[in-house]
Symmetry: C2
Subunit: 448 residues, 2 copies
Amino acid sequence: MPETNLIAISATDAAAEIARGAVTAEDYVRACLERIAAVEPEVQAFISLDPDYALKQARELDEHRSSGRPIGPLHGIPVAIKDICDTKDFPTGYGSAIYADRRPRNDCTVVARLRAAGAVIIGKTVSTEFAYFFPGKTRNPHDTTRTPGGSSSGSAAAVAAGMVPLAIGSQTNGSVIRPAAFCGVFGAKPTHGAVSRAGVLPLSRTLDHVGPFARTLDDLALILDVIVGNDPADPDSRPFSAPAFRRTAAEKPPLPPVYAFVRTPMWDKADAATKSTFEQVAKELGAFEAELPPYYAEAWEAQRAIMAVEMAFNLGPLIAKGEVSQRLQDLVAEGRKVTAVQYMAALSDAKRYAAGLTEIFERADAILTPSARGVAPADLTITGDPVFCTLWSLTGMPALNLPGLTGESGLPLGLQLVGETGRDERLLRTARAALDTLGLDKKKRKRS
Amino acid sequence: MPETNLIAISATDAAAEIARGAVTAEDYVRACLERIAAVEPEVQAFISLDPDYALKQARELDEHRSSGRPIGPLHGIPVAIKDICDTKDFPTGYGSAIYADRRPRNDCTVVARLRAAGAVIIGKTVSTEFAYFFPGKTRNPHDTTRTPGGSSSGSAAAVAAGMVPLAIGSQTNGSVIRPAAFCGVFGAKPTHGAVSRAGVLPLSRTLDHVGPFARTLDDLALILDVIVGNDPADPDSRPFSAPAFRRTAAEKPPLPPVYAFVRTPMWDKADAATKSTFEQVAKELGAFEAELPPYYAEAWEAQRAIMAVEMAFNLGPLIAKGEVSQRLQDLVAEGRKVTAVQYMAALSDAKRYAAGLTEIFERADAILTPSARGVAPADLTITGDPVFCTLWSLTGMPALNLPGLTGESGLPLGLQLVGETGRDERLLRTARAALDTLGLDKKKRKRS
């Protein structure tokens, strides 16, 4: 296989080629580095990158394989890591100049799991400031005048631009699903606690999720099988059986999936093209409409209170050490004003919203809803609105962004599927069926 | 065995006699009811009692046994239940006139487990108002001008007065250990989450513990084997192996136990007689002195903030429906003023205190410390000071009150042993060794 084509193949195929010895990890990493060299000046997805070190890791993996020792499912596959996830070999700067030189001693759990599976940790990707709203330097690969979304800006852009097949991001409100939507890649926010947050900058224990980006559904399943798992170091991690994303995603659903189209109380914030596309998609999927009870309109305030409080608690001491954006300062000040009883009420409400949503899953396999209000805004000073992700972050339910729809100006428009808590694997199986029904699994369809 | 002696034997012996058919459950319950009839007018431990219903339960248990079906470890043993624990067959009034007629539909988990083990739920015992400080009608059986302690006043007094061999209480600050100390019985506050709080009035998820009272260490082990266990309905319950309190408590320790004498920053609150007794006890046990770092003095404030916030959240809506004591109103008002960031800091500090204490257990098997400032105060308008229990409730570590020491006026003086988190069974084994060393296992020793 000529090197120049390597970046076009999926992580799943590349891993298979490396495993059988048709391609070396070094060749594959070199191909990615060449692609990075070509497009990084425009996209600016990385905050730390060390090509020589990446090649060294790849050569060690090749040596390991040629010694005949067993290899992991990501052997030789480069993965890019959001700059709020601790890595022992790269600085971890939280997207803030204050911590640009911060060098953690240990890998976070998710990076340790990736390394144990044979991944090459290729570099650190741009995060917004402390994974909140103030943007970094990254631009949308589809149109460099547009935001890639945030806060996992660099991870989404690096995957979309073909620099790496896989990347890790995180979501407290909409920071995986929104950039995946704007950049036109697959993104997953697994069930709260399914992927360990240990060693990742904590913003909000209640709302923080770690999740991956990929260019194919198989690749998403490949990395989820590696990163999902119990970790006693994360207090919200729970014991569960070994994940089976690849196996489940490959199964044919026993019955055609049933979709619940949920506009959410934020529907009016979607732009006209998004609304009409989703009404059409809902029809094509045979979705039934599920309306949320009126009190769900308050869920966005509950999420705001929890996020403000927990970020004030976690980031307050960190941001006291230097200059930060006004927007983050305002959030911390807002969080400090919330009373403990108000905060407990918001936490209690979050459980009520989650419990109410389980009823939908008595009828439906997945909730269908937009990933964002529309396509990526043509503004590099913002990262877009997470409003269509908030409810699923608050309730901890698994969510996926599926690419393939096209919105205004021919840009990617994200389709979000939300699954039942803890049924992450089944959600991938449903997603494949949805892509199939919509004809999005092979080639992009034009919608506008 | 003549009926009149039945109340003098332990629950362990009574259960054995019932199991082999030498005594019927009806005889045993009748003996307890006779004792209750004799002493209840003075002690007033019960808020709900139904002798006919108790005898009916006993007769059904006797029928069950005589049918040859398997029986549980508490078959035919009467257990009294604190009035904040839901029972399907007795009102559960929270120690408040507002809820005197409240009739739950279901048993709380701990009562369901007791019933499944064959216990006779004999009645509901007096709790202070909402398990806080405003006392109920119960008097100390050792001196009816004195408080039995609180908030599990009736449960401790009923066991101390020989009305029942076993009772259930709860502790948010010092509400099991303190009344056990004042009434001269065994009391256990197991590790946080070890006994389910599901169906028990929630005051504070962080601080609430359910625990039993007994007259012998074997009886304490007997009931702990029944009530300790995982319950998904309690969010702080964790999966663990089946409890083995009786087996472990019966073992000889592999080495003589090592005790850490911890005066705590509250030492000056202990009265002179208590101080000198504990210095003597520490010497007899060969305890080493463990001094807590100065920042532990703030633990009592952290506990206060957490308790005030969580009780304001949980009880606020309940007390809006009627008259409650000024002291409870003041606490709720105080809790409502705490900010969420202050509350999170207190929760975070609690983890730090717990982590710091684990170091002591690298050397010691148990911490030795007073259960209370002294003997039961001669005042029925108060329930005494929980100050020697606060740190162990905040950190969730298992604690026992051991009776046998005698303080001022010949009244019981409680000895508290605190164990490592999750090592509840081993703490009972250590307690037996301590009683043995101090000569408290057979007869009371006079100290003053």
